[in-house]
Amino acid sequence: MRRTRIAWWIIFVIGALYFFVPLVATFEFSLGHPWGPGGVQPSFDYYATVLSSPDFWGSLGYSFVIGIITIVVSISLLLPTAYWVRLKVPRARPVVEFITLLPFVIPPIILVFGLLQTFSRPPLPLTNTDFGSSVLLIAAYTVLSFPYMYRAIDTGLQATDIRSLTEAAQSLGAGWTRILVVVILPNVRVAILSGAFLTLAIVIGEFTIASFLARPAFGPYLSLLGNNAAYEPAAVTIISFGLTWLAMIMIAFIGRGGRTRVAVTGAR
């Protein structure tokens, strides 16, 4: 018993080190290097430089907005799909699951080349404008979010008696849109939030697609900064890490805004 507990603690410590050592190292590097006699004094100068840079805020803001839009599009697309599949065509579930897993198989570089080939010429030359390119970026990110968002929504639906809730709402006169928005969505909100977190994290750090579509996103900015400066990229990494967490907490706070509890039906 005691041995097992020690083993668990060892695993926990190794896991914690695995996550936190790179973070601490990055933080340490972001304060200037090397420290001590003959070196430099640790300072937050690089943070100040980064935070005063309009490019940093511009790219982070752009990625955040694109991330929020991607989340909305992804939910709008996948919630009705997962709901309909569970309710009406459960036999199609493996097919839909396979389709949503494709982004794991198809690399982003293939995806972006496909988009460029298709949408850089008539009849839909979307890459000709910034707005069109941003639309393509959102479309690509929506596809990238499929595996995370679909699984999160599907798990939420599985934990909810959607059939009874749907039928109860129907018998009370509700149509499909109202059922989905007023009855189903609030009951899978927690599951959707977890999908939204992952989507936001992916969008904030994504480089390949944003770079090929020449979008002023955070990933390409970070890469460019890494090519031209030594310590600022480390500072940006720490700042973006903190801001991403802050954004997630905000989403969670907004999303959990009501007194809700998931799927409690049946006898108590």
Binding site: L165, A168, L172, G175, R178, R259, T260, R268
Partner: protein, 376 residues
């Protein structure tokens, strides 16, 4: 004047599965009809077709003269109460009850007033702001009933609403459902596999088996005059006795060499001239009974006190050539001064010919005898 009418309603699922076959029902306005039957008999499927959740593959369903057979469920004005309550977990009690009225875009003042009325009717005072998970099972089902009634539906459908509740609450809610149904005069269809529920609640009971109707009748008709072997064996408890036919025209039979009579002509004896005779335990009395009663002799095998009644099992004969002896049970009301025979004592029991139902050709005698214990 018929209010809810089902005519030749059928439901065939892909793969040749027949869930419901030629279902005909006429329910008058304000009637309480129960669908009673074992699992898989098609009672819930029929209810779901009335609600619009299943499309019939044949027949028509009308409410107040309007054909609703293929109308979407949200355009039927039919209230439904589910076994699992199906309350919206994200909404308070008041919001659940008022949901249907919001959908109908009623003014907020009307919704508040109606919700208040139903909260009071369902004894949910002080719980309007709670969420479903903060309520007991009985309270949740009250909310579900209130929610279904809020929209003033033309027909109220209840799909085994009490089966997830414990026995005491079930009985209390059963009475309340009946009382509210009478008070509001709402046409109600109630699905259950619990015969006590069906018999105690309903104006009429539809007994179903394997997708078709076995019998439609008042609870008294169903219990006292079952029209098929299935109804006789499914509703109430029953002695099943293997009997030989002496004279089919006059209804004379022999049980282990003792002659009894039925009030009907026997038309369905097996090739061996034997039938299964059914007698309810409460139809049999200790003693000689009235003149004209069937009288048979036997010995007391055991006596069971079941609270308000005492069940006495009587052995009518001896085991012959491997065939188990015929045993019947009789029920008598328990009272402090009840004189009971001793186990092993010889007794005479009696039952009127009208209390006997012939349920077709006899099954194997050993099986029939064994079922006496199992059925009663």
């Amino acid at each position: 004047m018929s209010f809810l009418t089902l005519t030749g309603v059928q439901k065939h699922f892909p793969g040749g599965v027949v869930a419901v076959e030629d279902f005909d029902l006429d329910a008058v306005r304000g009637e309480f009809v129960s669908f009673l039957g074992p699992s898989g008999c098609g009672k819930t499927t029929t209810l779901r077709m009335i609600a619009g959740f299943e499309k019939p593959t044949g027949g028509t369903i009308t409410v107040d003269g309007k054909d609703i057979t293929y109308r979407p469920p949200n355009q039927r004005n039919v209230g439904m109460v589910f076994q699992s309550y199906a309350l919206f977990p994200n909404m308070s009690v008041a919001d659940n009850i008022g949901f249907g009225l919001k959908v109908r875009k009623r003014p907020k003042s009307d919704i508040d007033r109606r919700v208040g009325e139903l909260v009071e009717l369902m004894h949910l005072e002080g719980r309007a702001d709670r969420f479903p998970w903060q309520l007991s099972g009985g309270q949740q089902q009250r909310v579900a009933l209130a929610r279904a009634l809020a929209i003033e539906p033309q027909v109220l459908l209840l799909d085994e609403p009490l089966s997830a509740l414990d026995a005491k609450i079930r009985i209390v809610l059963r009475k309340e459902i009946r009382s509210i149904q009478r008070q509001l005069g709402i046409t109600t269809v109630y699905v259950t596999h619990d015969q006590e529920e069906a018999l105690s609640l309903s104006d009429r009971v539809v007994v179903m088996s394997e997708g078709h109707i076995e019998q439609i009748g008042t609870p008294s008709e169903i219990y006292n005059f079952p029209s098929t072997a299935f109804v006789a064996s499914f509703v109430g408890t029953l002695n099943l006795v293997n009997a030989g036919v002496i004279d089919a025209a006059s209804g004379r039979l022999s049980i282990d060499g003792q002659e009894v009579r039925t009030s009907k002509v026997i038309t369905d004896a097996g090739g061996d001239g034997r039938v299964t005779l059914a007698v309810r335990p409460e139809g049999i009395s200790l003693g000689e009974g009235d003149s004209g009663s069937n009288r048979v002799h036997g010995s007391v095998e055991d006596i069971n006190f079941l609270g308000s009644i005492v069940r006495i099992r009587i052995r009518l004969g001896d085991e012959v050539a491997g065939r188990p002896p015929t045993v019947v049970a009789l029920d008598t009301f328990n009272e402090p001064h009840l004189a009971l025979p001793a186990v092993g004592e010889s007794v005479t029991i009696s039952f009127p010919p009208e209390a006997c139902f012939v349920l077709g050709a006899a099954r194997d005698n050993a099986t029939a005898s064994a079922e006496v214990g199992a059925e009663v």
